[in-house]
Amino acid sequence: MTALRASAVLTLIGLALMAWSILVPTPLPVMLAMTIGQAIGTLAFAIYGYVVVRDVRRARGTPP
């Protein structure tokens, strides 16, 4: 659950950077959104995927 909460917080940070680039389309926000913002979003999704896969393996009785 801690990992998922971290993932949710990272998602919010990534979304904030992407929304900033949409509201203020100047070089710095656009570059930050397309690099750091999307990297943070990808990391958050990877954490979610890891947690779900681990949960499914536990439910099937296989070691994570």
Partner: protein, 216 residues
């Protein structure tokens, strides 16, 4: 700005996806529900589907935004160039193209883009180099100093002009200067934007390091 955003379907979609995702994330963080199948599906939407949709639409909107004159003019050293394009009474090449509906607000990009096979990538890499130069060299420079030093990196290519002005139309060839210089214009030996022809493109244009035949 609000009107501009909601007039653009992509921007509206990106903001709507971002807003919906943020609401789901806040709900999860504040309510702390058990990790049931329903919660996983909500999280899949909030962490996966909606942010990916935001990034996709945001990227397309971002690339479009980089074509706008206000984007180029957002670095202070480019403001005089933007102001000249905005000036309805200016007769510079840049301003005349800005008044052309085919260019409009994208006149900087329209004339400075590369139209080769990998033109979009080359143009974007050139833009990244501009950001690098700005952050390291021009960010704290006064407008007067910057105007004195900023210059185009390589001679302006006639091929860019010929993307629209094909040099094959009867109206274009009816101009005697065009007809007499046809081969040299097509070969790039004489620049369309040279002082004796249609240039300079901007009020502050300076000769490039590689002079063309016209500027010799």
């Amino acid at each position: 700005m609000v009107t501009w955003i909601f007039d653009n379907l992509l921007l509206t979609a990106a903001l709507a996806c971002a807003g919906a995702s943020a609401l789901l994330m806040l709900w999860y963080l504040l309510r702390r529900p058990a990790l049931s199948r329903a919660t996983k599906i909500v999280l899949l939407l909030g962490i996966g589907v909606l942010p990916i949709a935001t990034a996709t639409t945001g990227n397309v909107a971002g690339f479009e935004a980089t074509k706008a004159r206000r984007f180029c003019g957002s670095c202070h050293v480019m403001t005089p160039y933007g102001a000249d394009s905005d000036d309805r009474h200016s007769t510079t090449l840049a301003a005349r193209h800005a008044r052309n509906a085919l260019f409009g607000d994208a006149n900087c990009y329209g004339c400075h883009a590369d139209y080769g096979m990998y033109g979009t990538v080359i143009t974007k890499l050139g833009g990244l180099r501009h950001v690098y130069e700005y952050v390291l060299h021009y960010r704290n420079m006064s407008l007067e100093d910057a105007r004195a030093t900023i210059h185009i990196r390589t001679p302006f290519q006639n091929a860019t002009c010929m993307h629209c002005h094909s040099t094959q139309g009867p109206t274009w060839n009816a101009v005697k200067e065009h007809a007499s210089l046809l081969d040299r214009l097509r070969g790039g030996a004489v620049s369309c934007a040279s002082a004796g022809c249609h240039g300079p493109a901007h009020p502050f244009s300076k000769p490039t390091s590689k002079p063309t035949e016209a500027s010799k």
